[in-house]
Symmetry: C2
DNA sequence: CTAGTTGCAAAGAGTTTGCATGGCG
DNA sequence: CGCCATGCAAACTCTTTGCAACTAG
């Protein structure tokens, strides 16, 4: 797992791109089509896999394909994320009640929750009143 | 949305297949390759989309593609599901503490949780002691 | 110099769509 | 009979892989 890693222009620019959009969920396509990044698509996929493995970014799986998000100093590993099924926004839920949930599940249901991999789906505040549809 | 729907042999057999595996998470491939079901792959995808739309089955999104699960009398719409990242088992979490979680998120964070679409990831009881690896 | 990385193009998986035929109601 | 469903194959999207050239350390 801890293989030697080289520092290349492509890798740096992809990481920088994530760093400049810390809250965004980016698809591989977003990266590939971004004008700031010059890298072949195979390289992008390979870099995303590496960065995910190293924990610098996180990978989510959605209907349209994988999404990647910057993992700033690991802080997002400690709270849940909500994703709006309507507009796609990610809400960071830094809340004690929710934090106790993983403890409860661990203690009472013997299941070690991986908060960083979990996304809770629903409809966000903005989309609730005028819930037109998809 | 509520278009007229015909009852066909293919549709019935797919639904019957789900009914006979109420807890299984099935991929489109599982259905297509199942010897009990005679239907072209396009038909399977179309039926799965219809059934999901009608609420008879639920759709999850995983790394390898979409997974579908039988939605018996809607009872699974009221509790969370845990999925083991190691062995893939789905655990149904019918628990009051967890039920209050969605209420909490709705009341305090103004986010209408869709329990039926949410899967909490982690490591299940069986995979925790001998957590070899992926 | 060595080993990891890149880029292109081809290959693959999963899913969708076009169109003529078939079947439910 | 009208309309939805089916089947087949082609099309598409997202992702992976092979391989030769390249580059960081």
């Amino acid at each position: 797992m801890a293989e030697k890693k080289y520092r290349t222009r492509q890798r740096d620019s992809i990481l920088a791109f994530f760093a400049s959009h810390p809250d965004a969920c980016l698809s591989a396509k977003d990266i590939i089509e971004s004008p700031e990044i010059e890298a072949g698509e195979a390289t992008v996929f390979r870099c995303l896999a590496h960065l995910t493995e190293e924990g610098l970014i996180k990978k989510y799986t959605s209907d349209e394909g994988a999404l990647y998000q910057y993992n700033r100093t690991g802080e997002c590993n400690h709270h849940f994320h909500l994703k709006c099924l309507h507009c796609g926004t990610i809400v960071h839920l830094d809340c004690d009640v929710l934090r106790s949930v993983s403890e409860h599940i661990g203690a009472h249901h013997r299941f070690a929750v991986d908060v960083s991999r979990t996304v809770i789906y629903g409809i966000c505040e903005n989309c609730q009143p005028n819930r037109t549809n998809e």
